[in-house]
Amino acid sequence: MKEKTAEKILLIISFSAIISLLLITIFIFIQGVPLIFKVGLKNFFSTHWAPTKGYFGILSMIVGSLLVTIGALIIGVPLSLACSIFLAEFAPPPAQKILKPIIELLAGIPSVVYGFIGIVILIPLIRNTLGGSGFSVLSASIILGIMILPTIVSISYDSLVAVPQSYREGSYALGATKWQTVLMVLFPSARSGIIAAIILGMGRAIGETMAVIMIAGNALKIPGSVLDPVRTITSTIALELGYSTGDHRAALFACGTILFIIIVLLNIIAIKVASRE
């Protein structure tokens, strides 16, 4: 009897996660989608965003979000993979014991702190060495690249460690060096885990808001170089929601639906890639 009750309670709890996801999805779509059709797709996917004056083009923000995400991956993925390979294969156990918790601690730093460090250290550095205002695609990419490190490192580390010891032994027995083993045996075997790690990191980067608002400059123009400022979808929502009413508010929810669709598409692609053998 007791066991049955516990089972029921757990079932309800697990359903509550699905229900809240459903409710959020329905709410965002109800609030946002009517506006897209009201103003027309042509207006909505233009680059002119002035919602208080009737222009709802979000193309530059979509491009902005994709640019900083790609930038973050370019900077974050090689670092994270190198880090997880070192931790899983090369690091002596004492180093492993110290390094792994430290990297995981990075995930616990609030994003506003990353943004603050960006403003105080990175932005003046970029402004004084490379020029421009410092508020740029580059600074956002660097900060986001660091922010996605712990996600990618811990998941790809786990999948590298999960590769059976016999694979490594087989590889060494065939005369492969340690590096060849990592590259030709471990990576392919851990591929789906590594791809999942990268996709999760990508999700974190595209959804990050606070740090990006603080360091990306938020200009609406599509950047012409990595030193130009950039506006992402999430920053637009956070910057403008406080002051928005009517169509402007609906437009921000419409931004939310687009973000939602992008993230769902990314996940579908990730699952497909990961499962292709």
């Binding site: 205002s133 123009k221 406080g242 928005s244 009413t245």
Partner: protein
């Protein structure tokens, strides 16, 4: 408050548009706005409680002291891109503006841009404080904030030769001044009326002045 200890005042933020909408919807007794009402927002009872100048600010090291109104328009609309075009250093101008929907941006568009469009290439920040921080840290930047919030870390510049000082706001020389409004849906009565009367009283106006705003009684004199 001492006279009416039983009254509770809930203050909610959200910006001018939200304040105006809330009065229309009847969700609040008094709305506030830091810009004039738009044509489609008319029909409310309006009380001007104070005035606030909009100051254009640059980095302290910037040699520019004065810009004409037209130069400002050209800078914010992106037609003037380099400080040397207006007699300054040979550096790109970094323009900082407020986000869509902000009352300060609304007032700036109305008073200074006058129909010209603020360029998409401007950096966007969502508070007076954030703009002041960027201007204080970036030598070639320019932005605008509420005059009451200008401090020693940035430099306010004159427009058409008139410096944004309280004296110039009061004597009407400085044109870029916006009202801080109290709005009610119906003729105020009872407790709402006494709060508005208090805000307009010399006692309250002194407090507003102390916080860098221009009291309305001085303007009326």
């Amino acid at each position: 408050m001492a006279k009416h200890p039983e009254v509770k005042i809930n203050v909610q933020g959200g910006g001018s548009t939200a304040g105006i909408q809330a009065v229309f919807n009847g969700t609040c007794a008094i709305g506030t706005s830091s810009r004039n009402l738009k044509p489609e927002e008319q029909g409310l009872h309006i009380f001007t409680m104070a005035l606030d100048g909009i100051a254009v600010i640059v980095h302290k090291s910037n040699p520019i002291m004065d810009l004409t109104h037209d130069q400002l328009k050209d800078i914010f609309s992106g037609r003037i891109k380099n400080w040397k075009e207006i007699g300054g250093m040979d550096k790109k101008i970094i323009v900082v503006t407020r986000e869509e929907g902000s009352g300060t941006r609304g007032a700036f568009e109305e008073l200074i841009m006058q129909g010209a469009v603020i360029s998409d290439a401007c950096l966007v920040q969502d508070s007076n404080g954030a703009i002041r921080e960027i201007i204080a840290a970036t030598p070639q930047s320019i932005g605008y904030i509420s005059a009451g919030l200008v401090d020693e870390r940035v430099k306010a510049i004159s427009i058409d030769g008139v410096y944004p000082s309280v004296a110039n706001f009061v004597n009407g020389e400085y044109k870029f001044v916006r009202p801080f409004l109290l709005l009610t849906k119906n003729e105020p009565s009872g407790i709402v009326k006494s709060l508005i009367e208090f805000t307009l009283s010399p006692e309250a106006q002194k407090i507003l002045q102390h916080n860098g705003l221009i009291p309305v009684n001085e303007i009326n004199q």
